[in-house]
Point group: C2
Chain length 490, copies 2
């Protein structure tokens, strides 16, 4: 059963594209850099959204919605912010088309906007401009708001899910009375992201802080979670920014303290995007297709009947019906694949390709023996299970798969994490082994830049709760107080 | 307790604005025509979304996501479609800003797009261009897809929720092998909308078909649900379009039939938007604020403790705790308002303003008597309820409120629906009574136009299953086969 998936060993990048395409996750649209998220891919994203949304609400946040467009002058109010985003902005300049004899339809030159509008690349500016009116006194704080939205950053080189001009995300924007509270919020949301990545995506992450050069444009500190893909490259899976009073200053957002003083508000923002879909695919999948953690799989169990003729199919459906009911009652999503135009082998391959965690096959002999064949997607192991305790076995199997793929990714990461102490070793590991390289760095932007130029590796993060350890910078030999995490990255 | 809401009788339009603003539902943003949906307003929209989404999935649809931008040439492919939307398009012409000594940041003239991109006003064109690749044979049909998204139509005169340049909506786009199946889908989704409006929004609607001049640009038939607001004006609450083969033709979408023939695909599209929020507000609210149907209320029951000092509050909290638990187990959302800076009267007024269906007040005497005071928002009636059966009483009360506000809106609509048989009567009713006016029309666009010019009334719809009844057009006296529904409209 040829699935036409390029093996990872042959061409990792093509392997990724094949899975995205053939598992029906997404495709390029006719609009440069914009993707179409197909129903099966979107169903996975919806699961992520629902879980994250519950976690945000659990931690006291409410959703709201702010405009798609940002006046050009707003974007410019925070100097670092505009510098970070100016080069990749979609700009709306007109608000009308009109008929034209030669060209059919043209932009109406008379409908030019007085001030151009930017399609939001992120919403700090338009939100802080709104917060100015919402926040008057300490009673209005903290303000804990999240938004699910589309954003646009005009990328020249795009890859489905990983880097697209338009993407979907959530952006939390909170305002606080004190610096400490804002820092705590920044760290709390990083923890939420890390918990989501590990408990639901089965993807181990390193929590850390970005260096100055990798910081969000406008932030005082950028926290991040970093994960490792199967090709040994790192992927930033989520960021949480401590904004200090930068946006409060830019938009003049002050509050009256209990002591009757006017003070600037402290801010945070944090986001994850459809990029997580790319991370999920690359963290677990294999040469047969997608491997999904059960908690994010739109279909958790697929049942493939093996039969000849309508009568045999009917018998299988009757036979399987109580199990289907039992699984549904356990909150497990089950699909019976009763398409009569396809052979079982084809169906097996298709559901493997789509990453369904558990596949049940039932033939005539299984009916006679009161059993069924249960196959798990992650290890490809099959077992015969008696009908009597099938519900329990499958339920436990889903838990096992969730854990197993985490363990597998975790072992891989451990194996691909290397402490090095010299420049030669650093280069050698990056070149031949890849993965996370843990090394001393002298703390300067210049050294970071030079390392990037020579090796393409960047500092992914300075891990939280990093142990102090004096050493020498691998490049300059200058003194260093701690090791940081280097890697080539997406 | 002044709430500063303008009474409906004084200025209906201002009353509406006051409620939207003071109940914290939405506000104008700094971007012309775009709104900010505030957390409380967004929570209502989320409830609508969740229920509708479940209804769409129940009827076999899956969600997907298509690009925000539409190449100008795509929009032009269906002649009626572009004519309908060209006058209100936000157009992206550039993809970069750059620093400028004088102005700070300007649009980089060198980053001009070869082809302008339109911010989607609706997605038929970009979706049918995608469907071309998804549909090859009858096995790929029907294709039942929905998208939750933001769209932009550059409106000159905007009103919060009712008409904004950017709004949120869902748009279903389906493809079918036969005309009959597509018509059935169009009607099925209209039924879903009508069911949602009546069962969840408690808002009675008329189901009907639009006349040619009110049809969606590119549709063969537009079905709609029409509701009546408290000022006697009609509001179109949802539309479902039978597209025939128009978009299949424009984008060359054909499929191989079972009989091995190439045929054009049949299409539908259907949508409801944040406009429903406007309808919800205007259908039920009163001079004290919002009135929400319990099924859409983010907070269904609010508990206001009446106390002096921490000790009394503690006692009330202990007293009320089992009831809170019981209500939560029944799936009822309860909020305890324990803010200690505000007086009970202020809280009462605030929760009335926000439309919370049931308010519980508990003072020291209630503790002694093992009872509580229960007030319903819709009728303002209060009753003393014994603690013992409070859970049951409240649960039933929520059902009663849901039904009662439907009945009230329904009676209002009946009262405001008038059959007329002459032009003078028609004008008189529109002028003095408003509401739906049921009258004969000769079936021509010219007459429809003339009636609109003279009275501002439009044909809202030709009701489904309309009874045949010969008569004479109220304006021209020409023969007519059926009555249609006229009204002034939002």
């Amino acid at each position: 059963m040829a699935k036409d998936i390029t093996p990872r060993s042959e061409d990792y990048s093509q392997w990724y594209n094949d899975i995205v395409k053939k598992a029906d996750l997404a495709e390029h649209s006719a609009v440069r850099g914009c993707m179409v998220i197909k129903p099966y891919g979107y169903a996975i994203w919806e699961k992520m959204q629902r879980i994250l949304d519950d976690m945000f609400k659990e931690t006291g946040h409410m959703n709201a919605y702010f405009p798609l467009f940002i006046p050009k002058s707003y974007l410019s109010k925070e100097a670092n912010h505009v510098e970070g985003f100016a080069k990749e902005c979609a700009v709306v300049t007109h608000y009308r088309l009109k008929a034209d004899k030669e060209e059919g339809v043209i932009v109406d030159p008379e409908a030019k906007l007085e001030e151009e509008l930017i399609v939001r690349p992120t919403s700090e500016t338009v939100i802080w401009n709104t917060y100015k009116n919402w926040i008057k006194s300490y009673r209005d704080l903290p303000l804990l708001v999240n938004q699910w939205a589309n954003v646009v950053r005009w990328e020249m080189r795009t890859r489905l899910f990983l880097r697209t001009a338009e993407f979907l995300w959530q952006e939390g924007h909170t305002a606080h009375a004190t610096k400490q509270e804002a820092v705590e919020e920044t760290e709390k949301m990083l923890d939420v992201y890390a918990d989501f990545a590990e408990s639901y995506m089965s993807m181990p992450v390193i929590k850390g802080v970005k260096t100055e050069s990798e910081r969000f444009a406008g932030a005082v500190d950028t926290y991040c979670i970093e994960s490792l893909m199967q090709d040994g490259k790192a992927l930033q899976a989520g960021t949480s920014h401590f904004l200090g009073q930068n946006f409060a200053k830019a938009f003049d957002v002050k509050f009256l303290t209990k002591e009757n003083q006017q003070e600037l508000v402290w801010g945070t923002s944090w986001g994850v995007s459809t990029r997580l879909m790319g991370a999920l695919i690359m963290a677990h999948s294999d040469d047969d297709g997608l491997v999904l953690p059960p908690k994010l799989a739109p279909i958790q169990v697929v049942i493939v009947p093996i039969y000849k003729g309508e009568e045999q199919l009917q018998k299988i459906e009757t036979y399987i019906s109580p199990l289907k009911k039992e699984l549904k009652e356990k909150g497990i999503t089950v699909k019976l694949d009763d398409r009569d135009t396809l052979r079982p082998g084809f169906k097996f391959a298709e559901w493997e390709l789509k990453g369904v965690p558990v596949r049940i096959a039932i033939g005539q002999r299984d009916l006679e023996n009161q059993q069924l064949e249960v196959a798990r997607r992650d290890t490809k192991e099959k077992q015969s299970v008696s009908m009597q305790n099938a519900g329990e076995v499958i339920s436990k199997l889903l838990d096992d798969i969730q854990k197993n793929i985490f363990e597998k990714a975790n072992s891989f990461r451990e194996e691909k994490t290397t402490e090095v102490n010299s420049w030669d070793e650093f280069k050698e590991i990056l070149e031949n082994k890849g993965g996370f390289v843990i090394a001393h760095w002298d703390g300067t932007v210049e050294t970071e830049e030079k390392i990037k130029e020579e090796t393409k590796a960047t500092i992914r993060c300075i891990p939280l709760n990093n142990k102090e350890e004096s050493g020498k910078c691998i490049l300059t030999g200058k003194p260093s107080k701690q090791r940081v995490v280097f890697a080539k990255a997406y």
